[in-house]
């Protein structure tokens, strides 16, 4: 296993929102999906994931619901709220701008 890549402040929120935009998901699945989609480059520890989830819920960007999971056990599913969708759009644009700017600098030097 490669070392988990350092996540920029606020990036985790963006990742969670992006993934939840596809479908409602529980915490473990979110972590799993992040690892999968980043081809194991990003590993989100539970100690970061759950506080982030609870913070987003408290902010009103995602909401939680207890549902039966795929293997028929009850799990806490998170879904995007309308406010969360709006936030996602804004954060995504900002991320594009930031990453483009960072790449620009990294490449030219």
């Amino acid at each position: 296993m490669s070392k988990p890549t350092f996540l920029l402040q606020g990036t985790l929120d963006l990742l969670i929102l992006t993934i939840l935009a596809l479908e409602p998901m529980h915490g473990w699945a979110i972590a799993h999906r992040i690892r999968q989609m980043s081809k194991d480059a990003l590993q989100v520890g539970q100690s970061a994931l759950y506080p982030a989830l609870h913070k987003l819920e408290q902010q009103g960007w995602i909401k939680a619901e207890w549902k039966a999971s795929d293997n028929n056990r009850r799990a806490k599913y998170y879904a995007l709220t309308r406010a969360g969708r709006k936030a996602l759009t804004k954060e995504a644009v900002q991320w594009e701008r930031l990453s483009a700017a960072v790449s620009l600098i990294v490449r030219t030097t």
């Binding site: 529980h26 539970q46 759950y50 406010a83």
Partner: protein
């Protein structure tokens, strides 16, 4: 919108369904763990390996959960609730400490809340008259009358009105007793006021029904109108609106009722119940000085500007009338005018005193907390070393002390409520605005604020002490108090010393007032009859036929004949003046053969009109000459009697008997009277007024219809009242009687304010003393308990019991001495504030300044003695076993 709602719901859920939230979090973590294990299993690990791997990956579960809870942003509230629960538990576990502290605080906060209500109600609460800070009352002071807040005559008023620019509606009023009667019931005597048309508009209070006087209804020859107070309207007319337009008799004159004022309208006096219109008939002469002015300042005019203008008008009054000397026209704001000059400083002194009581209570509780803090030192040190934040610990300790203070405040509120009800019902000080003294939201707010502040005040020092602990030292010491406790001990001694000093301050203040009050009670009104045996009442023969002297004298002859026939009556007569403070007629005078320089005048003095038996009834001694007798009739030679004080002042080295004297105010004729007797001094202007020369004139030669009846009985005079009343009203049912009271009651009433001041300050000093005693007892008892080991060693080495007692008592005595020195210093500085409240002693009264420290010393020694005795019972064996 929905987002805020969502957030609020989550917040509330976290707060009130904390268990549910916790459980959810557990389940969520559990689920995660299980999935992690499953993943391990599918990748080929054994069950146990998968489990360990998963737990490793999950990390510190508890910290994780805590982080989640933090994200929910409710931790500080939960902390507070936890601190409160913790605090409550600690208070419950130390019932003795809690009860003592709560009682001390309740005493302090309760007394302060009650005093606040009194001060707020009287000094601050808005008067029921809109914009009353713009309303001012105009008085007049001039020589020879020389009343600081005296009255004007109609001529003065007209001059003021004609030259006025500062006031909206300069008006005039006087207070007087009124007989009201009519077909609605038996006549009665009430307090009334006669007012000009601008009076009601100035005060801006709307009548309940009907109207008030219209402009012009104070012109000469206006018909008589009456506005009733709500109380008399309910009492006599059953609150019926048909009263409007009705004709009632006011002082015998038919008057039309035009309106009813609401009960809150209590001006010019608290007990005024009827207002009549005052017709401004063109005055033919100066006097009578019955009136005061009232007006509302025009917009933009200040009280100072109004005063300046009125001053100028005063100068003109003096130019026009040479009788006026040194004339000033004091203008007072309405509230100041209602309060009088003595009440405000007294209330401020009392409020300051009760503040000191609270301070002592706070010091006391701080001391108790410090003692406990010493015990908790190790707990705090342990928690600090385990990583608790100092701020967090201070917050917890402060939460505890504020909780304690609020408990004290709540109990104190009950005390305050009781105290205020007592003051209201009893009104010992005859406070003018007692109706607005009540426990309300402002008092409640005051109580909560003061409780919080006291909680922080007495909690802060112990809390800071606790967390400033040197961890190593405390934990190593293993429970025995060491360096930090010594600083605690010093702080605690300093606190007790300050408590003693503050108590001494209050005790000296109370002592001065007590001594002054005792002086006041020793002052006699100048009569020797037992006050309990004297009954007085104000008789008003309402019928207009009695304004004629002949009919009136006949009426009073009959009253006296029947009164003297009542069993138990020893002597009875009439007078228009009564000791100790009901001055009747007063005027300046002139003595034959003592010419005055041009423009010079004798002072105005009491000139009571009395019946011949007045002196005998009250026991006023005859110094020389004779009393009046039945031969002094309207037709005989005019005679007069003067008081001893009068002789000393105006007949220096002269024989007064046989001299001739006359009243010389404007409007009196040229009636020279022979002085036939000299009697002892009697006080008619209050017990505290020093010299009060008097010139007595026979009732028969100076008839007036409104007279006091003075009756001396062989027993309790109050019992005579029903029989006398029945007798008098059987002569004429239209006659009204009022102010029926014994001389004892009158004397009590005349010293009501000093009594109020003295009682309250003594009460506060008593509370302070009690609190200080508890404080010093607590400290000594605690230090004896701490020194058990040391004392045990001393006794084992042969110290006698007396040595131990001496050692402990010396500790208390040294604190007492320090406190007394400080307190005496403060007392010398602060008792000056009492100067105006004292009678017959100075602020540096030696007796008080010696007695008060002695009392403090005795109390301190008593409080020290109990723990000292306990120390002697320490068994060396037991004490040393602790090693």
């Amino acid at each position: 919108m929905s987002r805020w709602f969502l957030q609020l719901r989550l917040l509330l859920r976290s707060l009130f369904r904390g268990g549910q939230v916790q459980q959810d979090l557990d389940l969520e973590m559990q689920y995660h763990l299980e999935r992690q294990i499953e993943e391990g299993l599918t990748s080929g690990l054994s069950a146990e390996e998968a489990r360990y791997a998963a737990l490793r990956a999950l990390g510190a579960i508890t910290q994780n959960k805590e982080a989640c809870r933090d994200m929910r942003r409710v931790n500080w509230i939960e902390d507070l609730l936890q601190d409160l629960r913790h605090g409550a538990r600690r208070l419950r576990n130390n019932p003795v400490f809690t009860v003592v502290a709560v009682l001390a605080l309740a005493l302090g906060i309760g007394a302060n809340t009650a005093m606040f209500s009194v001060a707020y109600g009287i000094l601050l609460r808005p008067l029921p008259y809109p914009g009353s800070d713009r309303v001012a009352v105009v008085f007049m002071r001039f020589f020879p009358r020389d009343f600081a807040f005296g009255t004007l005559c109609i001529r003065d008023y007209l001059m003021w009105k004609d030259n006025n620019h500062a006031f909206e509606n300069p008006s005039l009023f006087r207070t007087l007793r009124m007989d009201i009667g009519g077909d609605e019931g038996v006549p009665e005597q009430v307090q009334g006021a006669s007012v000009t048309a601008g009076f009601f508009p100035t005060l801006e209070v709307r009548p309940l029904i009907g109207r008030t006087f219209a402009p012009g209804e104070d012109k000469p020859a206006t018909r008589s109108l009456a506005v009733l107070g709500e109380s008399v309207w309910r009492r006599r007319f059953g609150a019926s609106s048909t009263v409007l337009g009705k004709t009632i008799l006011v002082n015998g004159a038919p008057s039309t009722v035009i309106g009813v004022m609401p009960g809150v309208f209590r001006f010019p006096r608290r007990d005024t119940e009827v207002w009549t219109n005052l017709p401004l008939n063109p005055p033919t002469r100066y006097g009578p000085w019955f009136y005061r002015g009232v007006g509302r300042l025009k917009p933009g005019v200040t009280l100072e500007q109004a005063q300046a203008e009125v001053n100028n008008i005063g100068l003109r009054m003096m130019q026009q009338n040479p009788y006026y000397k040194r004339l000033t026209l004091p203008v007072l704001q309405l509230r100041e005018a209602l309060l009088g000059t003595t009440l405000k400083p007294a209330i401020l002194v009392l409020a300051g005193a009760v503040g000191l009581v609270l301070l002592i209570a706070v010091v006391n509780v701080a001391n108790l907390m410090l003692a406990r803090a010493t015990v908790r030192e190790r707990e705090m040190a342990l928690r600090l070393s385990l990583g608790a934040g100092r701020g967090r610990l201070v917050r917890q300790l402060l939460t505890e002390s504020v909780l304690l203070a609020v408990l004290g405040g709540a109990v104190g509120l009950a005390l305050a409520w009781g105290g205020i009800e007592l003051i209201r019902v009893w009104n010992p000080g005859e406070l003018p605005m007692i109706d607005s003294v009540r426990l309300d939201w402002s008092a409640l707010g005051f109580m909560v604020l003061v409780s919080m502040l006291t909680g922080i005040l007495f909690g802060l020092a112990p809390a800071l002490h606790s967390v400033r602990t040197d961890l190593n030292a405390t934990i190593k010491e293993g429970g025995r108090s060491g360096a930090t406790s010594r600083t605690h001990g010093r702080t605690r001694s300093a606190l007790v010393v300050s408590e003693i000093a503050l108590s001494l301050l209050l005790l000296v203040g109370a002592g001065l007032l007590l001594r002054s009050f005792a002086n006041l009670r020793r002052v006699t009104g100048g009569f020797s009859a037992e006050p309990k045996h004297i009954l007085t009442m104000l008789i008003s023969p309402a019928n207009r036929k009695y304004t004629d002297a002949r009919a009136g004298l006949a009426f009073y002859d009959e009253v006296l004949r029947r009164t003297r026939a009542v069993r138990g009556v020893e002597a009875a007569d009439v007078s228009d003046s009564l000791p100790p403070d009901r001055q009747g007629d007063a005027d300046t005078f002139q003595i034959e053969g003592q010419p005055l320089a041009p423009g010079e005048l004798n002072p105005i003095i009491s000139e009571p009109g009395v019946g011949p038996d007045f002196f005998r009834a009250l026991g006023i001694p005859l110094i020389k000459g004779r009393f009046f007798d039945q031969h002094d009739t309207p037709d005989s030679r005019p005679v007069a009697i003067v008081s001893e004080g009068f002789v000393h002042r105006f007949f220096v080295n002269q024989e007064p008997l046989g001299q001739r004297i006359k009243q010389s105010g404007p409007g009196y004729g040229d009636k020279w009277m022979d002085i036939v007797g000299v009697v002892g001094n009697v006080k008619y202007l209050g017990l505290t007024v020093d010299t009060d020369p008097a010139l007595y004139i026979p009732f028969a030669q100076s008839y007036g219809p409104l007279m006091f009846l003075v009756v001396r009985s062989s027993g309790d005079a109050a019992e005579l009242a029903p029989a006398l009343r029945q007798n008098i009203q059987s002569i004429d049912p239209g006659v009204t009687l009022a102010q029926i009271a014994t001389m004892e009651q009158a004397l009590d009433l005349s010293v009501s304010q000093p009594r109020f001041d003295t009682m309250l300050l003594s009460l506060f000093a008593g509370m302070a003393l009690l609190l200080a005693a508890v404080g010093i007892y607590g400290l000594i008892a605690y230090s004896v308990a701490q020194r058990t080991h040391e004392i045990g060693v001393r006794m084992a080495l042969g110290a006698a019991q007396a040595d131990v007692v001496r050692m402990v008592v010396r500790q208390g005595a040294s604190m007492a001495v320090a406190g007394i020195v400080l307190g005496l210093g403060g007392a010398f500085l602060l008792t000056r504030l009492l100067k105006a409240m004292l009678f017959g002693i100075g602020v540096a009264d030696a007796l008080t300044f010696v007695t008060a420290p002695l009392i403090i010393m005795l109390v301190v020694l008593a409080a020290t003695f109990v723990p000292a005795l306990r120390a002697t019972r320490i068994s060396p064996v037991v004490a040393l076993r602790y090693e």
